[in-house]
Amino acid sequence: MTAPTRARRTIDVGLFSVFAVFAVVLIALAIIDGTKFFQSSLAGLAIGGIYALVCLGFVVIYRATGLLNFAQVGLVTLGAFVAFNVVSTWGLSWWVAIAVSAVVCAIAGFLFQRFVLQPMTGAPLFSKILATIGIFLFLQALVEWIWGTGAASGQVIENPFMLSTFTFGSTPMLRIDVVSLALAVVLMVAFFVLFEYTRAGLSMRATAIDPEAALAQGMNVNGVVALSWIIAGVTAAVAGTMLGSNASPNVGLNATMIALVALRAFPAMVLGGLDSPLGALVGGVIIGLLESYALAYVPAENLGQFAAVLPYLVMIGVLLVRPFGLFGSSDVRRI
């Protein structure tokens, strides 16, 4: 209804200058202490990969249902612990663990969709979001019940990459981190293909835009939604396993910790754009990098848990300035 205004352009200019300043700061930091910068960048990419994975799950559900899916966070926790169980208690290989975890989470996702969300068709959006919060809560409690609150803390899922590293120059990067990032990229490409080129993906987009019309067209709306939850479950399992296999100090097999980390994928989602798989990847990586730099360069004594809060600050900034994020499509508001 309104043409691009001067306000919009001022915002764009403002954004650009912020980015410019930021880039300058980063370059300065790199010059000052190259190794530290490189190391924190790599760590940032690693955690960014995990954020991207979780975020992809968010995006899939959002595209199919228009919902924010808090249950995803719970599925990540579940995925981590199931993988842990497979490796530690059953003594199977890490790859098997991922597969088993993926199956378990996919089934869990499907069940929740079928027995909680589907009966709520037609309910207001916030009720459904609350339902996903309830599922999240349930999963966290379930994990704590089965595996105990602190029992697995400090442990890590044994994996073939454990401490082996790639070395860039003189800086080691954990192989596991590289794998996380690689998986995120692969999955993102897979999702992109799915959404744009397959019938299932097309049905998903139709369903999200207008479920009734889609139904009238003979699309299996419930099936499409169920599929999206299954995909989300798989993504969650992979993300959870990566998190659990990561021995860096901020993670570890603690249900609450994992949940807190996974929750930070929401800012990544907002930054990247609620409905964009590319946005999930880019958003996740950016948030990961920012967090990592904050950890490295902002002393904890002065600003406490700044690194943990920074994603949310960024998110609010994005929402004030450009609500649909980097790659999201703008909301159509009908009168």
Partner: protein
């Protein structure tokens, strides 16, 4: 339709000037405008006040603590209900405002001491400051919230919780001190009575000093506040601003068309809700500051996302948009964590502290989750929603019956 077209100068609608009709209309209107529409409500009120007076005298300290906490949750839930239930603004942020209130209460209320920061202010002072602070923050949050809907508002309020807790942590960590630490404000004087440790049951009993903080006074105080806040909220809800909020919830474009200023009412809802949340937080600061560290259960005794979810669970289960439902919901859900803990030895599948297996805290969390999800699936409008549906169903049958009778009348034209 109306018959008389005679004068009716003051009342612009061509209406019946029949005196008895007018009186009947007035009686109906008077009834609608009352706070309690039937005498049952008054009876219930009397009973509630009686219970309020008597119950704390009959419970031990453990239960007093539990019910005192439930009261705090009730206050917070009443505030959130105004924002989310009536105005329809999704919010995960109640914990943020409670944290602000709790921080102000403990910081200002603690006795002045070298080791630990405190300003030694009396209850009424820090309560008022907390409420104002909450309102101000609510205003600041409410402004951008004008432009955000649904999903976006949820994540913003989620972020708000984390950010607020972080800021408070920053402020308090200078001396290595956080909110729920010893040296609590032990006294809470309000309306001339000390409801803190020295509470003496309105002069009937000598306060017992045995080293442990006695929660009975707080139990009275918190539920007194529940009553006050419930009254204020109910007054708002049944009059012009309340209707405006509900209109915004139902269809905000239509609300604008009838002249409701979205700015004034959305922001107003945020401000009022956050002020009430901060009030609950102040009471909570008083309550939790007296908890011994070992008594802190994992769920709901520290302020974070979990607290927000707890308060949301209360309004969902109790019923969105119902003052009664909220209070009942708070009583049930709010005491749940503690109740389960108290009964942990009686319930075989629950492991005691230190044992492996299902701990009370985890079981509570699971139970709350099931209650939340269950309510949402079965009846999205909660307990109060079911009641409302029954009432509407009954009213519809009455109207339909009247229609059947009307068919028998010879058509006198106007009345459809």
């Amino acid at each position: 339709m109306a018959n008389a077209t005679a004068e009716s100068a003051p009342s612009p609608m061509p209406a019946a000037t029949n005196d008895s009709d007018n009186a009947a209309r007035k009686a109906l209107v008077r009834r609608d405008a009352r706070i309690f529409t039937s005498w049952w409500n008054w009876l219930a009120l009397v009973i509630v006040v009686a219970v309020w007076f008597v119950a704390p005298m009959m419970v031990n300290n453990e239960w007093a603590r539990v019910l005192s906490f439930a009261g705090i949750i009730a206050v917070a839930a009443l505030g959130l209900n105004l924002l989310t239930g009536y105005a329809g603004q999704a919010s995960l942020g109640s914990a943020a405002f409670m944290a602000i209130g709790a921080f102000i209460a403990t910081y200002m209320g603690r006795a002045v001491d070298d080791r630990v920061p405190g300003l030694g202010q009396p209850f009424t002072v820090y309560l008022v400051v907390a409420i104002i602070a909450g309102g101000v923050v609510g205003f600041v949050v409410g402004l951008p919230a004008l432009r955000l809907r649904g999903n976006y508002l949820v994540v913003v309020t989620l972020g708000l919780v984390f950010i607020t807790v972080w800021v408070i942590d920053l402020i308090t960590r200078k001396n290595g001190v956080t909110v729920s630490v010893a040296q609590p404000p032990n006294t809470a004087e309000f309306l001339g009575i000390d409801w803190g440790n020295a509470f003496n049951f309105f002069g009937m009993r000598e306060p017992a000093y045995n080293g442990e903080f006695r929660y009975h006074g707080l139990m009275y105080l918190n539920w007194l506040f529940v009553g006050i806040v419930a009254l204020l909220v109910k007054n708002v809800v049944r009059s012009r601003p309340g209707r405006a909020l509900q209109a915004i919830r139902e269809r905000d474009v239509a609300a604008e068309v009838v002249g409701v200023s979205l700015f004034r009412y959305k922001v107003g809802a945020f401000v009022m809700s956050s002020a009430i949340g901060a009030c609950a937080g102040a009471l909570y600061g008083l309550h939790v500051a007296n908890l011994k560290p070992t008594q802190e259960a994992a769920f709901g005794n520290s302020i974070g996302l979990g607290m927000s979810i707890l308060v949301l669970t209360v309004i969902i289960v109790g019923g969105i948009g119902s003052v009664y439902g909220t209070v009942v919901g708070a009583l049930i859900i709010g005491s749940l964590p503690e109740v389960i803990g108290l009964f942990s030895d009686k319930l075989p599948f629950i492991a005691g502290p230190g044992e492996s297996g299902l701990s009370a805290a985890v079981f509570t969390a699971m139970l709350s989750a099931v209650l939340l999800v269950g309510t949402l699936v079965i009846e999205p409008f909660g307990f109060a929603g079911t009641m409302r549906k029954i009432k509407v169903h009954y009213l519809q049958r009455k109207t339909a019956a009247r229609h059947d009778d009307a068919e028998l009348e010879v058509t006198s034209s106007s009345q459809p």
